[in-house]
Symmetry: C2
Subunit: 189 residues, 2 copies
């Protein structure tokens, strides 16, 4: 396969604020064709966690999402802070803050790109096992997150029929599921 | 579960061009907390196609993606034009343009959101069966797309180990795989 990169002739930010950074690159293909401007969205990494309790049910969170202007069923998770040494740190912090749960084991399953065409960041899929509620969540005053646990087969059906429809979370959950199956196989369960 | 929506007090575009529209909404939660500005990215829908040939291998495309500044392995697909009556139309058009292939059957498996927090659009997963090359692709002069077919198990491994890492395409493929399995079960294959 060919390795090819566009040359960036000039680059500037067209909008930058607390939650967004839109960069405009004036690019040129290896064949000399101009692609200008090409817009890139700069974000920090995100971490989504497939959280299992001791009955092997998986945690869903329910919250308002203003992009789609609707309530959304998702995995818990959030933005990887610079202070987080690893995606596992983010997973543990967000799980406790958003839901008031901790987990006996948290593992980083793998990293993906949310959209290689437009985004600069990674999405990390983590698995948390043995989740237990230790106290009330510490949500900020714009958050209003409800937690529920469902069977894995139920979540797969919710993905099939579109009730659980956030694609980044679907990808993170399927990666977690492969990990969980591999783990069970190795443990002879 | 609660149904809650933010009120939009004011709305404006901070940047709008051929490939991007960044909207800033001044919002207020039901509890009266201001979230202003909240940035929303407006896009048309996208369609990704899991294309199978008669040997049940799945098509991958390999192309440069400037968000990540690297070559990316993906499913074929693209933007749903206003002229496309359905995601199936987009799937057939993009498949032919990008790769020079047509398929005997194309089915719309389901719709997802690329990111309910920030995006307004949907991602559609389609399955194409019985793909055959009918001629050269009609790529535009900024595209340089290579096509290959791999076994389903190989793609699953490429997802597991991070070689195939675009999360929207991973979600689209897993949804397609569930559909394909259901279809085979119904056909007694």
């Amino acid at each position: 396969m060919k390795r090819k990169h566009w040359n960036v002739k000039a680059s500037r930010y067209v909008h930058r604020d607390a939650w967004i950074a839109v960069r405009a690159d004036d690019c040129e293909t290896p064949e000399g064709v101009a692609v200008a401007p090409y817009y890139v969205l700069e974000y920090p990494d995100w971490v989504f966690v497939s959280v299992f309790d001791d009955d092997d049910r998986v945690m869903l969170v329910h919250l308002y999402r203003h992009g789609m202007k609707e309530m959304s069923l998702e995995l818990p998770g959030g933005v990887k802070d610079e202070a987080d040494a690893s995606p596992v740190d983010t997973a543990q912090r967000e799980l406790l803050e958003e839901t008031g749960y901790t987990a006996a084991t948290v593992v980083h399953v793998g990293s993906m790109t949310p959209n290689s065409a437009t985004h600069t960041n990674l999405v990390h899929s983590c698995v948390a096992l043995g989740a237990k509620r230790v106290g009330p969540p510490a949500q900020d005053d714009t958050e209003d997150i409800e937690v529920e646990f469902v069977e894995v087969e139920d979540l797969l059906e919710m993905i099939d029929d579109g009730r659980f429809k956030q694609a980044l979370h679907i990808a993170a959950f399927y990666r977690a599921l492969r990990y969980r199956k591999m783990l069970k196989m190795m443990q002879g369960a």
